[in-house]
Point group: D2
Chain length 299, copies 4
């Protein structure tokens, strides 16, 4: 192949994705579950691997997977704490690993309703909403992000959309009473250590209450209100980002069938959808663009 082409290795990271681990706490006959999908990716000096096929620095993705399972033996705790343990391990064990990205999805389970307090060891999985966590480390800087996704909400009134500009391509009528529905994906960044489970619960509650109690003039305004509510409720949160599809519900025109439709029958469409993305920052918070870029996709 001749000499290697004169191209530079740019940003890179690698690891094992979607390691599904279920941890059963059997300390008493009343079991408890921690059910996660964990992804571990390392950054550091991996140039020789890419350019020369020298794997001396390549901690195998299989090894990363094994480490997840081994660490689960001692318990999981909050997902943020589990990811921090992984980050410390990998950056502490291999001199050339200077950072990485560790993420988790956590699936919730409820006890099957038998007796007053639910069954000891039989559960149903709560569908839909998923808790997320991410730890991004770059040298000395470590950032913890908490979040959730697939939290579908709907307000059957209390939402309008008026006053928007009209151009040649505008046909949408103004709406003074519409359905507002979205599937919330949110991530918030902590400025420091926090009781992760309690902070998560507080953030989630604040977000839902803000959605419910805001008379919405747009999904943008609702997003800002939800973000502000989280920053109010969780002092350690310094920034929050939302990605929220506007799940359109169209009032069906029943007039051809001789029927009125006073806000009662809607068709739901999956596609296309509005896509509202916005962030809210505590005053004085440092920007963290690189962290967000790392938490999201690579390309």
């Amino acid at each position: 192949m001749g000499p290697p082409p004169p191209y530079a290795l740019g940003a890179n990271r690698y690891g094992k994705a979607e390691v599904r681990v279920l941890r059963v706490d059997r300390a008493t006959p009343r079991h408890a579950l921690a059910d996660l999908s964990v992804t571990s990716q390392l950054t550091g000096d991996f140039e020789a691997a890419h350019v020369a096929g020298d794997n001396a620095h390549v901690v195998a993705t299989d090894t990363q997977k094994n480490t997840v399972y081994a660490f689960a033996r001692d318990g999981i705790g909050a997902p943020e704490e589990f990811l921090l343990r992984l980050a410390d391990h990998f950056t502490g064990s291999f001199a050339w690993v200077t950072g990485g990205r560790w993420t988790a999805e956590q699936y919730a389970w409820s006890r099957i309703a038998v007796g007053d307090t639910g069954h000891d060891h039989a559960f149903t999985r709560d569908g839909g909403e998923v808790r997320t966590a991410a730890v991004v480390r770059d040298g000395d800087a470590t950032t913890v992000l908490a979040g959730l996704k697939d939290l579908v909400v709907l307000a059957s009134t209390g939402s309008e959309f008026v006053g928007f500009p009209r151009d040649r391509f505008t046909t949408l009528p103004e709406a003074t009473d519409r359905i507002l529905s979205t599937s919330v994906t949110a991530r918030w960044r902590y400025g420091g250590a926090v009781a992760y489970d309690e902070a998560y619960a507080a953030a989630r509650t604040a977000m839902l209450e803000a959605f419910a109690d805001t008379h919405s003039l747009s999904l943008q305004q609702t997003a800002y209100a939800m973000g502000s509510a989280v920053l109010d409720a969780v002092p350690e949160a310094v920034e929050i980002r939302f990605s929220m599809p506007n799940k359109h519900h169209f009032l069906v025109d029943l007039a051809p069938f001789g029927l009125d439709n006073p806000g009662e029958v809607f068709s739901a469409a999956d596609q296309p959808y509005g896509l509202i993305e916005a962030s809210v920052l505590r005053e004085g918070a440092e920007p963290a663009g690189a962290v967000w870029a790392s938490a999201a996709g690579f390309c």
Copy 2:
């Protein structure tokens, strides 16, 4: 093209699938939601359409969709009742429509927790589990099926699998304490009219309690126990069918890392999976194979 080929039209049905309808009950400021995906398919004399391209009998799928929305104007009620109204309409309005298959998925919503009784018009969608309903009509025979799908359950103990035959290809060790997990798809057939919402709730509860309380010797045995419990709890149910993947959870071997693993750390695998399908019939129930075939897929 010359004369038509001498082939016979066989079984056929057609209609509109996945009509997403949201009905908001606004009778009082405390709104209520009915959120369904409805499929309507007609059977009858459609030979000319297939063989000769004569559409005189082809009630347009668009018309079927419109009918769903128009009927929703009067309220949805139990999904089984809504489907029966559709069945009566189509078979009653078009002489050549002698039957059909109408199915629905219903998505549940919960009020956002604000105050003592939850918000009046803001909701979160319950993920995962979906209620299903089907009406199959063939001439004078009408069958109503109720069901659910995507109900994921797990027992962290109380499950074993021993005593199975061993041949040349058997490597699975016997297990005296394993995790049992499945995603329940169930449909049950009613022998006559019933209070559909109450019967659904009773069947679901019976099924879950049987899963929780059965010391499982196999998923087959658990399925039979769950089916029996439904027949016990709902006298109008005459037959129940389950399709249940055995969602394998493997105890991770931590010995290479110097760790024991006394039933605590499991890896979950999506694929491949066991697939257990079984039905339980009330004594004396007539077989209904054609109904089940109609409710399931066409090919």
Copy 3:
């Protein structure tokens, strides 16, 4: 729990689903691939397992999976042949296994275009369309079904839909030049042994040519034409079934923007969709409803 409830075990089957096997033919440096997802389910005398938790008859699903891999050692051949080998093995090895259902999806790969004949051992996977096969055995009766799914086709003209009945709920205008698009799922039943790969190729070609060359008066008529073409092309095929969504493409109304739209700009909608299901039988073919029910879903 007291005596077992007096309920009868009905139809049942069980096994391992979605066993992903890749077989590399390395007989020469020019490798060849067979890439399948195989499902094996057994029927027979499994009453004791369900009713009494006695697993003496339960050939473990893990054993069924192992058998798939072991049999692949000798080569796969046509997927129908591979499934027949599995059927013979299971019904021949266990007296109480009297039948079953074995299905496969086969994924196609093409050689990466290097040189005149493509690379010896580097491939790209052909997306979309998947070949399917099924063997259904019930005692002495064995049926072989071949098929495909996810074959998306579109005709940009040569399709109309007129002459359908109009009722109170009909708003659809007649269309004399519309787009016709569907994702073909088809299965056909063989009356006897056949050269499976050649028959598959002939059926697929016949189906596509019929779609292309039929001036369509409805998707029903197109389905019948496609089925007839397969029966013409493959003498051993005695019946064919189609399940075809009508993937609607709507002409966008550009008039509000001062533009015409002479059949050029369409929006595509995933949901809802028409669903056309039809079968075509060779004259004199015996009905095979139970086989089709078995090939399709259980509930």
Copy 4:
């Protein structure tokens, strides 16, 4: 609610996602198709919308959708060109729109094989692989990214993985002849204008040939080789990023069944998977982290 909380609006963008547009070129009876899913998101001064519910700047997402359809009336051309037209329109028409992100997926269709040159107006959709394009504008800076996703490749030999570090958690044996398979997602950034369709074709070919011809010491090395090949083949490309899952194929241990397995029978697992992400830059190329962050997800 009292005074608004003192929080700052951070990064934000909004628009319409997944607008499915099919453009039929009917200039001659030999039709041609352009089939895209387009997303349009605007950035600029949208603070009042978020903070005060003032929509005077909010170009409705419905308007953005309409604009996509209206612009398609004049033809689509290369997807990059279509997105640039949209970018110019929105930033040129609304003073407060200072940038945005426009992306497209393009689905390919092939003529059904009838006669020597294929059918004039009947097509099959090529599954799997999807072409992608993105335009990111921020004030005066406009970046064009081209790419593809879901291109699944496999090498049945010519891949090894040895020499990686071993720690307490390492159990993976070294492999001197393994299967290498991945689903390529790639995006590359152009430094200036280019003939987009030709450049896309050249990049795709270079990438595939590099995959096929590289004796792989790791997927990282293969990624670097693929990226280098694209930079060689397309002078206007200044940077390329890959996200590639390592789709593991495990050699099945057939020894318990008395069989050898000389690299012939593999099981494929979807989960977990290795995830290799890497970029290659032309020497002297300016970093473009913000562009990549914008092209990828928001949070």
